[in-house]
């Protein structure tokens, strides 16, 4: 049964140094508030898993929380590079970052295999790509009926998965809709899970066959309205595309990044305060100065 609890307590009790942690959300419903809280609580040596590491992982990597990254596409969607990710890979700042690199198909199947309690995922994949040359976790197996060669990769089994969703009810059952990405699989593949939600309601009013995660399959549900910002929650908020653009100059320099993280994350108590500070510091066009 999920505990309905403040995000600070959920991260404090469920995310531990050295854990394998997946924050999932495919453009939609990215759990930014939870990412901030992990930074605030200064978790170390995390193995971060995510199909599409974007701003949320740029922040965690830049703040030195990550030892390793398992991923399939790392960038600032619609803008360009992730400067903190690149700085870690290209120049080992703030320290060396080990990477294990897959394709989306590989990662998606690895989450499915994890949710299914299988040790590996089976797919047609990676053929002709150089990825198997640099990733020893991409192997090949033979079909016992046809002899065909198929790709095999280890399941993703995070210690903790964190997602953001639209609604929970008072028992902690969670409903999400729209672009679902791999969130259900990521939660079910994990030992523990945290779900931040836009609102807590008496009745989910879920349509038939909706994506509902029952309370008893979750560890903690936290009420964090707008907790996906600058990502969005369909039915609640729009994606703040400007924030993604403004992130580029912020993340370009180490000092600018550290100053921004201190002001907006380390020196704020929670996501609501972050949003207030952000509103003060970034009128139109001011983010660049803020990051400089």
């Amino acid at each position: 049964m999920a505990l309905i609890t403040p995000l600070r307590e959920a991260v404090s009790s469920l995310v531990r140094d050295g854990d394998t942690v997946a924050l999932e959300g495919f453009t939609h419903l990215i759990p930014h508030a939870a990412g901030h809280e992990i930074v605030r609580q200064a978790r170390k040596d995390l193995t971060l898993v995510r199909m599409t590491p974007d701003l949320v992982y740029d922040q965690l990597i830049g703040m030195g929380c990550a030892r390793k990254l398992i991923f399939s596409w790392g960038g600032n969607p619609g803008v360009g590079s992730l400067h903190r990710f690149r700085d870690a890979v290209e120049r080992e700042w703030p320290h060396r970052l080990e990477i294990e690199e897959h394709s989306h198909a590989g990662m998606a199947n690895a989450y499915v295999a994890g949710a299914s309690n299988l040790p590996f995922a089976l797919l047609r994949g990676y053929t002709g790509s150089d990825l198997p040359k640099v990733n020893p976790n991409i192997r090949f197996v033979e079909c016992p009926f046809t002899g065909e060669k198929l790709a095999a990769i280890p399941s993703v089994r995070p210690d903790v998965t964190v997602i953001h969703a639209q609604k929970a009810d008072r028992r902690g059952n969670v409903l999400l809709w729209g672009i679902l990405g791999v969130q259900k699989e990521a939660v079910l593949a994990a030992q523990r899970s945290i779900v931040t939600v836009e609102e807590i309601v008496d009745d989910l009013e879920a349509p038939p066959n909706a994506c509902v995660l029952p309370s008893w399959a979750l560890s903690a549900v936290c009420h964090v309205p707008g907790g996906a910002y600058p990502s969005y929650a369909q039915g609640y908020s729009e994606r703040d595309n400007r924030f993604y653009k403004d992130w580029d100059p912020v993340a370009r320099s180490r000092d600018g990044f550290l100053a921004w993280m201190k002001r907006h994350v380390l020196d704020t108590g929670d996501f609501a305060e972050f949003r207030r500070v952000l509103a003060e510091t970034s009128g139109p066009g001011t983010a660049r100065q803020e990051g400089a």
């Binding site: 399939s72 394709s103 989306h104 989450y111 672009i179 990405g181």
Partner: protein, 264 residues
């Protein structure tokens, strides 16, 4: 309608869009491919089926998505499934006619690099990585690649093959057991390259109006073959150009910026 002036990016987009036939099921990469695919849908191919890796099937966005998971994709789709389902049942399931991809670099056999420039373990430039491309490139019945042409992008030898084109050429792709037909066109801001039917080497088969063969060769990092039957790309008709510009204007208004794009 009267002819309109157009930019190199516009003719690239319109030329790419024209390749997409009505009714085609298209797995769409974000950015230029998404622009071209949506332009096709808004002009000559109203029944094209657009699938995005984030989950929307049959998306009909009113503005260009800035990310691969924009809400407009979900709201306008016939249905939205999970990302694993997209890759398992729809792509690997063999249901995609055309994979429409961008690239950081391609080589003469239309292999794609989106991973690193320089050695993998000590990269000069770390690119975003594979995303959906390796399996799109392998499993779609055919693949269109759209990117701007330059010596940096069109290289003799890729530092890293992220997604297979024709590998070393000839029947190397089939021999590797890759089932999809592979790239059938690389559409650039200078012209259109298509693989030789036998050697599978990319060959310049169309130059855009006002572009010389020499310019294309200058922008290619290998000794580019030119088709004896070289054509000049038809100029974008006014309807397509207008539709493209309207789409981009709507997009800029909605997103507050222009529509580059990325996965994520």
């Amino acid at each position: 309608m009267a002819e309109l002036d157009f930019s190199a990016t516009e003719i690239m987009t319109v030329a790419a869009s024209r390749l997409l036939k009505n009714g085609t099921v298209c797995f769409v990469g974000i950015g230029l491919p998404s622009t071209a695919a949506n332009l096709a849908r808004l002009t000559h191919a109203p029944d094209v089926v657009l699938i995005y890796e984030s989950g929307p099937i049959g998306a009909k966005p009113t503005v260009l998505p800035l990310s691969i998971g924009d809400g407009d994709l979900a709201l306008t789709a016939d249905t939205v499934v999970s990302t694993p389902e997209i890759f398992r049942y729809w792509l690997q399931g063999g249901r995609i006619d055309v994979g429409f991809l961008g690239a950081a670099q391609v080589d003469r056999f239309a292999n794609i690099n989106t991973t690193v420039i320089g050695p993998y373990d000590d990269p000069k430039v770390r690119l975003p990585g594979a995303g959906g491309a390796p399996e799109i490139a392998a499993q779609a019945k055919e693949v269109f690649i759209v990117l701007k042409q330059s010596r940096k992008a069109f290289v003799d030898r890729l530092p890293f093959v992220t997604s297979a084109g024709f590998l070393d050429g000839g029947d190397a792709r089939e021999k590797a057991g890759i089932t999809g037909g592979g790239p059938t066109a690389v559409i650039t801001d200078l012209g259109i390259l298509t693989p030789d039917p036998v050697t599978r080497e990319l060959t310049l088969t169309s130059v855009h109006p006002g572009v010389t063969v020499e310019q294309v060769r200058e922008a290619t990092g290998w000794d580019l073959k030119v088709s004896p039957d070289l054509k000049t790309t038809a100029i974008p008709d006014a309807e397509a150009l207008t539709a493209l510009r309207d789409l981009q204007a709507r997009t800029a208004k909605a997103h507050g910026q222009d529509s580059s794009g990325g996965e994520g």
